[in-house]
Symmetry: C2
Subunit: 415 residues, 2 copies
């Protein structure tokens, strides 16, 4: 294992207690200093970003990816504002979660504590650098950031600003560590750094997440992939179904809570499909389906088995006509990524059944899947949407970035 | 991957919804049937156990391990009683954990749900077979049991009885699956069965747990190893310290919450060490230490660096004299396994500092580490003590065997 990644792990682990034991006031002071410094050092950050953009252009990166990479004065102000907003969220550390007095006089208290050191592996967008660092800081966790090579100069400049800001606080600058070396091996090494890293959070596409799940010996919070379905039940309000499908598919197709699949009960398939297609045509959404679907609407792209498991992140939707709600639930539980799933129905029994039996972080009745988001749930900022069942499911906000310990006070009890 | 393990995974996954959606009444009925059948089929189970005991003797297994493997009519009744007791615990599934109405009218409810399929890999003791299956059943999880080869006949007999009991319920017998093949590969395959297994829980020694952490791509709840310390502060009540150390070391040395290390503040080291040694001599506990320790008490076995990281599970304790509480906390955070750690002190400040800064599942002030146990904490039966920070820390009881989902009800909301 390279001494470089290990060395960074060691530094973060050595620094973590300065943050774990910091007061809320001290952590919020640090966040305010970081927000201020990001704006004050805007020129340096923009210059570094310029280098990344030039390299990206030289490497033929697509326009849409370059746009995600690009920073502007407004975007940097947005990043600083997001950091500042985290000071308004309650401190998730030190919360007494439960407790009791035992018959033998022991007093047991369950208290929330930071996880320790969190490693975040992410891809192109440089705003993740500040977002992730700020969330980890507020939740008392040292962070090791390992971004993509496309944003290396931008990320490095942002980290330098954040680390300098910590110098005038009681929190060690090593609570925000950054891996400058973007070779693939540094990510793999981070995944095995159990001695120093408590939790690993990948933020990125299906490829990154798969690699982390397969290679990491450090516990992982899996985030991000959303192959989300909308099932239109036989009792659905068809107008509502069309509005919701249109919103869930087209309001922002590139995000994980966008709908990718449409399941239609056979009894309403024809009327619903025509109404939904009318809406989707406004945004030129490509519809994929089998013969049953093409019998209702022509010009359907033939669907393949592979489609059912694919997250398009694009103006594409695959449609399946099902016999009944059981087939719909079974299809979702087979092909879904356990992210966000919706039913459109006027039937109480169907709503109850779907909510109970669909296995996903968020199950919607008569609403768009696009609401799966820390802000929309009223939790504030999040580091991602977890699609696993262990520890955190759905939006991963500040409380999900903590663990707990039991503190037991006695006066000499033995067993 | 062998079709055998995959086939079992597939069966458990196909069966899980019959259990996930079962009512508390149905699950408790199944547990009562299992408890009754275990007693009724005592002869068959004892006969199978006899075969295991004979093989163990032929293989030269130690007396103490044979004792852990051995079943008697009383022990089987004990196992059945433990299953029955789980019916008295509240159902952890379907609990509304929190919820809110959002400004747009969406109603969000966070509800506890089963994890899905839990795989339990364990070693020699056949009682784990019934314990683990009963806890998983009550928490709505299908279970795949993979025990050690020493207990294969006993485990197989117990599983047969449990599966038959499920036949007269609405819960599929495949909710309790058993891997008959005890080749090492079947365990390794189970660790990679992400498609069907949601969580893996190893129950056993450090070797098993290390292998699971290194090889498993399935999320793991790490349990069991406890290199527990007792720090006697300069302000300690020395009599209390001696009683607690004696209890924590000798009441049951083979368990994970037994004390393995003793740290003494230099100001009270001499008087404390003499008092504690007097007690420990009653059980002929071997004391290991350096020259500072042997200067106070003769006949000390020299301590090595390796000792500090070792869980003895025996009548052995290593002693270190420290400069101050900071050195004690630092030593514990360096060598401990984050299980159970204790301070003996009359100082409020020392108690607060130790509780805050020691990184462990359970931190004790003036009490024995032996209390880290689901029953002692008032939680009821547990499947183990987690030493990780993700998902569950400390006793893993029924609530820790669940996840949650968000159910969001609306009337056409779009974003």
């Amino acid at each position: 294992m390279s001494s470089y990644v290990t060395e960074i792990g060691k530094r973060a682990a050595a620094a973590k207690s300065s943050l774990a034991n910091a007061s809320s006031a001290e952590k919020d002071k640090a966040l305010r200093l970081i927000a201020k410094a990001l704006v004050e050092n805007m020129d340096t950050i923009l210059k570094a970003n310029e280098t990344d953009i030039e390299a990206a252009k030289a490497n033929g990166m697509s326009e849409s990816l370059i746009d995600r990479l690009k920073l502007t004065p407004d975007r940097i102000k947005g990043i600083a504002d997001a950091v500042l907003e985290i000071t308004n969220l309650p401190d998730p550390v030190g919360k007494v979660l439960s407790g009791s007095a035992r018959p033998n006089g022991l007093r047991i208290t369950k208290v929330s504590v930071p996880l320790g050191v969190i490693a975040v592996i992410y891809e192109a967008r440089p705003n993740v650098t500040a977002d992730a660092a700020a969330l980890c800081l507020k939740s008392g966790n040292a962070v090791i950031l390992r971004g993509g090579k496309e944003a290396i100069n931008s990320n490095s400049a942002i980290v330098k600003v954040m680390r300098s800001s910590l110098e005038s606080t009681d929190i060690s600058p090593d609570c925000i560590c950054f891996i400058e070396d973007t070779k693939r091996e540094t990510a793999t090494e981070l995944m095995k750094l159990n001695e120093y890293v408590d939790v690993l959070i990948p933020r990125g596409g299906a490829g990154l997440i798969k690699s982390v799940v397969e290679n990491s010996t450090v516990p992982v919070i899996e985030t991000g992939t959303g192959n989300c379905h909308i099932y239109v039940d036989k009792s659905a309000d068809i107008d509502m179904a069309a509005e919701i499908v249109f919103n869930a598919k087209t309001s922002r197709p590139s995000v994980c809570n966008a709908a990718e699949k449409l399941l239609l009960h056979k009894d309403i398939a024809e009327i619903a499909l025509i109404a939904i297609k009318n809406k989707l045509d406004e945004k030129k959404v490509e519809i994929r389906g089998d013969e049953l679907v093409s019998a209702i609407i022509p010009d359907v792209v033939p669907v393949t088995e592979e489609d059912w498991g694919t997250e398009y992140l694009d103006y594409i939707i695959a449609v399946k006509i099902v016999e009944d709600i059981d087939e719909a639930i079974n299809h979702i539980n087979t092909y879904g990524t356990k992210h966000s799933e919706a039913i459109i129905t006027e039937s109480f029994a169907a709503a109850e059944k779907f909510s109970a039996e669909v296995d996903a972080a968020a199950v919607y009745v008569n609403a768009s899947t696009r609401f799966t988001d820390g802000g929309e749930f009223g939790f504030g900022a999040e580091i991602g949407i977890s699609t696993q069942k262990l520890h955190a499911r759905g939006p991963v906000g500040l409380p999900e970035l903590t663990s707990y310990k039991y503190v037991i006070r006695g006066d000499g009890q033995i067993r």
